[in-house]
């Protein structure tokens, strides 16, 4: 039995497998299938100060080895979350990460401040949602705007602050460095790649939002590359995600430099995928004679 514990920005995880924001709701649904306390952590559904209805349906389209979504940050708002979901979640022995977003800098500051007053363990600043008109990815695509939002939010964050990066940029490592310089405690990546599908019969985009975010195994090689690039340019921990489906994928992501991983789309076709990853990882480490999973982080040997 290898030691699966990892520590990211001072927070201890029982294992490095976290469910990705927007793919696991606030945990209740999957807890009907298995005890979600078995997970290293949960990145909760993206939250805003006030309720958001999200985009009109259809909000999902299938793609080769992947999917597009255009949910658009639907969520009940902070107050409802605290009342209806926090009590259940806090009974669970797993790291809780509040994924937060806003349309303006003030929104970001407001939600970060409020969330800091709750029992969550970390805050993940989503500056990379491609599915909302204002805010979201708009903040995440230039070093200046990314740095600016982190600078402004930082004083309100009383919990370790993870900044979630967009892959729809020319130089993701530069943006990671910019947010590191403003005091981000960690970065997570990748959010979804912007994509589109068109229905031949109606000649309409399948998504009512026209475009949406690509995730799932298709994006895995892009995610590994970005995690590797970012990890080699920042000192803060990197949480890696994008297309992880198997324990092999999770190990690959950790070798590339991820101190922990998140899994999203894979849940939809295999709800047990995170548990299988934890188990497989454990076996592999034992076979390899590696005592602690943290030993493999960033251990890729580039040519």
């Amino acid at each position: 039995m290898a030691d699966l514990r990892v520590s990211v920005a001072g927070v201890s995880f029982k294992n490095p497998v976290i469910t990705a924001s927007g793919c696991f709701g606030y945990g209740k649904e999957y807890d009907e299938l298995y005890d979600i306390s078995r997970l290293g952590g949960i990145s909760l559904k993206g939250m805003t100060l006030k309720e958001r209805l999200g985009n009109p349906p259809p909000r999902i389209a299938e793609t080769p080895s992947g999917m597009l979504n255009s949910v658009g940050l639907q969520n009940p708002g902070f107050d409802t979350f605290v009342k209806e979901d926090m009590p259940f979640l806090r009974q669970k022995d797993t790291v809780l990460i509040a994924n937060v977003a806003g349309a303006t800098i003030e929104d970001y500051c407001g939600i970060v401040e409020r969330v800091s007053g709750t029992d969550v363990d970390m805050i993940e600043l989503n500056i990379s949602c491609p599915n909302v008109k204002e805010g979201g990815v708009a903040f995440g695509v230039s070093c200046e705007s990314a740095a600016n939002v982190v600078r402004q939010v930082r004083p309100y964050a009383k919990k370790p602050l993870i900044v979630k990066l967009s892959p729809n940029v020319t130089d993701i490592a530069a943006i990671a460095q910019a947010v590191e310089a403003e005091g981000a405690d960690a970065v997570s990546l990748i959010n979804t790649l912007l994509g589109m599908r068109i229905d031949l019969k109606s000649r309409r985009p399948i998504l009512k939002n026209n475009v949406g975010g690509l995730s799932g195994p298709a994006v895995f090689p892009v995610a590994v590359r970005m995690v590797w690039q970012v990890a080699s340019r920042v000192k803060i921990p990197v949480i890696g995600m994008g297309g992880i489906e198997t324990w092999q994928d999770a190990i690959e992501m950790m070798l590339a430099g991820a101190g922990a991983v998140q899994m999203g789309a894979a849940l939809f076709y295999d709800p047990y995928a995170p548990l299988k990853v934890i188990e497989g990882m454990n076996q592999w480490l034992d076979e390899q004679g590696v005592k602690s999973v943290s030993e493999i982080v960033g251990q890729v040997k580039p040519w």
Binding site: R59, M67, N69, Q74, A265, Y269, Y272
Partner: protein
């Protein structure tokens, strides 16, 4: 509808014990899945992993045999996922996640009319099962050769009225005509409906006109199937009168017709 709360989700590989083709490109499959069958109720669905595609495909539960531990699914080949499903033969395994969602409310001792259009017919079978002769199935199809499950409703003891678009079986025209006739004759306690949106709209309007409670089963593209990803949104009226999004996989697929905002 407390029955729903108790239905317990399972995911696993379950053997196909019977498979027949029941119409052109339409298959009738019985799967041995005792743990799913045990708690499944009418109007719920299973979410099926199909080889070669990424996302699961939702298919309504057409019949449940809790004793035998089987669930019956009737589906039409529409695209790649259902085409792959259609390849699976008896003895092969199906990856099911279910039972999922919120089904029909069954009123013991009452009269029910179920209106099904095309591939919306299957969930009606289980919905009407307990009603026997107090249940009437109004079923619409494109054409005579697309008619499915007629015998099965008769075995339920239900009355069956058919309509086809081309008049090759039953009345020529829409199920809504037949429903209207039925409502004129005898008002049921509840109407169940599943089928294309224009049909559902029509049924909902008639139900309201005649003051009959009506439940409709909706379709939307799905991701997780359990209520976690929020992609399967459909517009509904909230208690406060405002419009908002509910989710077909968890709050539905069955909704009170008057709550649905048809677009």
């Amino acid at each position: 509808m407390d029955c729903m709360r108790e239905s317990q989700k399972r995911q696993g590989l379950y053997p196909i014990v019977k498979k027949t083709a029941c119409a052109r490109q339409t298959y009738d499959v019985t799967v041995l899945c005792p743990d799913i069958a045990k708690t499944a109720s009418p109007g719920q669905f299973v979410h099926i992993r199909c080889p070669g595609v990424t996302l699961r495909r939702p298919i309504s539960i057409c019949q449940v045999d809790a004793q035998r531990g089987t669930v019956r699914l009737v589906f039409e080949v529409r695209g790649r996922g259902t085409a792959e499903l259609a390849q699976l033969g008896e003895g092969e395994l199906m990856d099911l996640l279910g039972p999922l969602g919120h089904g029909f409310e069954i009123l013991p001792g009452a009269r029910a009319v179920a209106v099904g259009g095309g591939i919306g017919v299957p969930p009606m079978l289980e919905a009407l099962r307990s009603y026997g002769e107090n249940g009437t199935a109004i079923l619409g199809f494109r054409s005579a050769n697309a008619v499915i499950l007629e015998e099965d409703f008769l075995q339920n003891g239900n009355q069956v009225r058919l309509a086809t678009d081309d008049g090759t079986r039953g009345t020529k025209g829409f199920v809504t005509q037949l429903l209207k006739e039925q409502l004129e004759q005898q008002r049921p306690d509840i109407i169940y409906a599943c089928g294309p949106t224009p049909m559902l709209k029509g049924v909902a309007a008639l139900a309201q006109q005649y003051g009959v409670c009506c439940q409709v089963s909706l379709e939307e593209r799905m991701g997780c199937g359990v209520g976690a990803c929020l992609v399967c949104a459909c517009k509904t009226l909230r208690e406060n009168g405002y419009e908002g999004y509910s989710h077909v996989c968890k709050d539905g697929p069955v909704f009170e017709a008057q709550q649905v905002v048809f677009e």
